[in-house]
Amino acid sequence: MTAWLVRRLAAAIAIVLAVVTITFFLIHLAPGSPCGESERQLSPEVCRRLRAQFGYDRPLAVQYVKYLWALSHGDLGESFALHRPVADALADAIPNTLTLAGAALLIDFVLGLALGVYQAVRARRFGDVVLGNVGLLFNSMPTFWLGLILLLVFSYWRRWFPLGGMSDPVLCPTLSTLRCVADRAWHLTLPALTLGLVGAAGTARYQRAAMLEVMAQDYVRTARAKGLRERRVVLVHALRNALLPFITLFGLAFPFLLTGAVLVETVFAWSGMGRLSVTAIFQRDYPVVTASALVASGMVVLGNLLADVLYAVADPRIRVRSEVT
């Protein structure tokens, strides 16, 4: 088990390094430059001095080695667009993304699982058919479109929710902590629902299929023959098995917690990682782009690792095999 973990960690570091390298060169290959020469906003002389100041006039290989050297010391560099260290920009954006993505994933998984199980138990009956079609509708909606519709209905026509932002910039600092948390939750509702509902629709379809497959297994009949309540048959004997494929889904969704949702963050003016990275790409803010790629690839690798560990916890057949190796 320890050897397996060490091997996996070594592979993880290699993957992250590869992603950082590819991103570094790709973003430098992209046309345009940080000080926007093409738009002629700055005089060439100022631009030249800025490039020298940030070291962008050196050969790419030298820049790469310097970047890696700094990175190995935990230094992510300085953003010239934001005029602050990249690490600080990330530290501001990550909690916001974590809040939004966390809330969205919670809605996605809790609602998706519940609906999937319900639909499987009532398969091909009225409730399942209705939910199946509504789910398909939501699953096919672009998130930014659903976000805009929710804003139109619940923030513009009915003024129940704010039009955007993460908290009230004037009131919040003057309010008590508790009221401020409530204000944040109020701002969080619509963007989290937008992401959560679209996600839940997909999760429900997935979970319904997994559950239906398990419900047809012989051991479910065995559980019924024992005289167990239907609730226990479904929620313990069947669901426990139907959760195994769900772990894969979790592993795939995990990076989203830190990469954020570009479109929804933009629609709701949410200052998270999604907006940060997109803005950085447009401004050719090299260190921020590379740092975002670093975080994203790290999360993908971590998500996979977590899924594998969870599999071993949830499925005894895998547990024993990993003990052997």
């Binding site: 024992k226 004997h237 098995n241 949830a314 499925d315 005894p316």
Partner: protein, 342 residues
Amino acid sequence: MTEPLLRVRDLKTYFVTEQGSGTARAVDGVSLDLFPGETLGLVGESGCGKTVTSLSILRLIPEPPGHIRPGSFIEFEGRNLLTLAPKELRAIRGNRIAMVFQEPMTSLNPVFTVGDQIAEAAIVHQGLSRNAARARAVEMLTLVGIPDPQERVDHYPHQMSGGMRQRVMIAMALVCHPKLLIADEPTTALDVTIQAQILELLDRLQRELGMAVMLITHDLGVVAGTADRVVVMYAGQVVEQAPTTTLFARPLHPYTEGLLASVPRLDTRVSQVRGRLHSIPGQVPAATAWPTGCRFHPRCPYAWDRCASEEPPLLDAPGGEAGAHTVRCWLLTEPQRRERRA
């Protein structure tokens, strides 16, 4: 005569087929009795309705597509199982009537330890604490002859062989000391040597626990060694029913005759029976379209026009007490036809 423990009358379990076009009459008017402490063998080819009969008793038929027709009657300990409320039915399942299934590989839940799966019924039905139930699980594993039960109780099904798993299935079924055990082809998926062990185990446990067993099998050898009485099914119906010794000595239904003749025997050489092992011509008809009249007549060597038009009832065999040996065949009314043929 003692009261039967289980009385099945006119059981009809039908399935709506996939296309919705036809109805498969998988079990079509089965009646049988099972007495306390006895072993009843339920025999027939695949698709004759044995398994559906057994699943119907505990109402484990998936609905839809299946349903038990109104007018069917399954009485156990004086109560009609088909009209019980779900709660009352649960109190019988796994407690008074338990089942062992054919496939030990797939009938155990892969994510729970065998100990937990055995203990579960004891916790649900007898209100045992987790610790007491675990101790009971160890006891049951010992009873079914699993070595190192203290250690095995925490194992998962995939860590055990097929024979071991079937022993676990039996332990699971017997944990509440049921009055009736329904064993549906309990040895079919196992090696021959393991089959004998499992049958011996069932036989021993039946004597120790004083329960009745309904043994479902297509293997006449299994029936000969273990059953007190045999019910032969064909095309969703009971075609012959008799004490085991009588049935083997004097089979009266042509289908039973054919079944017995297709078992290879050591005491008659294959060359002596005209060089070949006997087989019943044709195949079991589809459950959506049983033949009219006697359902066996298209495959029957004795069939005459009456067989094709009129369905025979279960008739008492001559020379026995009423109900002891019954046969669904017109030959009983015209025995001379059998001699003429022979």
